[in-house]
């Protein structure tokens, strides 16, 4: 599974990386990421996730070939 992160998340992770674990949904993905870097836990709890240019919720079933974009709270304008 490919992961892309933006903004402050880049303080904790590479902008793009790959996970080999079996991950079924966003809750599991969040847990894997917190295990990788516990410092990102609070920020990850306020992040949304997107696949194929659309937001997904925790019920969305992730697949191994998905590219998941992790989206911190917006701060545009």
């Amino acid at each position: 599974m490919k992961i892309h992160v933006y903004a402050k998340l880049k303080d904790y992770f590479q902008p793009e990386f790959e996970l080999m674990e079996t991950i079924g949904n966003t809750d599991e993905l969040r847990a894997v990421l917190v295990k990788m870097n516990g410092g990102a836990g609070e920020l990850l709890s306020s992040c949304r996730f997107a696949v194929e240019e659309g937001f997904i919720d925790k019920d969305f079933k992730l697949k191994a070939h998905d590219t998941v974009v992790i989206i911190p709270p917006s701060s545009g304008g």
Binding site: H4, S46, G77
Partner: protein, 176 residues
Amino acid sequence: MTQSSSYRPAAEVSSAPPAPATPPVAISAEPLDIVGLLAGAHHPGAGAVVLFSGEVRNSNKGLAVNFLEYEAYIPLATKLIDEIVEEAHAKWQLHIAIAQHRIGKVAVGDTAVVVITASAHRSEAYAANRYIIDRIKHEAPIWKCEHYADGSQEWGNNCNCHTVTGDISKHIYETQ
């Protein structure tokens, strides 16, 4: 009599709606041409045109700011901004609605985001403009990094609605 280049005698002013122009891209890595966008935002049916320019301030939290750097998840930001503009267009029956946001390095005093709305009367143009910029700031996946004069930098974290709504995908104005 001297005439400015933009002057046209009343008899030459057409009452027909202008031909639809290609809408500007929602996300731009180039400086935003707010004068050019405004020049193209006039419509014979519009008695009001509102332009909002969000500009880079020289200070934040008491620290001097050198510049801001914006980044976006461009495909989704573009899609969301286009949807927000379309919704506002329909909701307030606007003649013109434009929104464009910068990415990359933006200097103090430069425009980071522009929203233009044109409608028959001012109340709709003002309301729609506010609606568009509020939703862009809260929902579009765009982030700014403040670069301070002391050499430090900090990612902005403007939208914390989830601390009130309890849902990371729900914003304060959606519960009002």
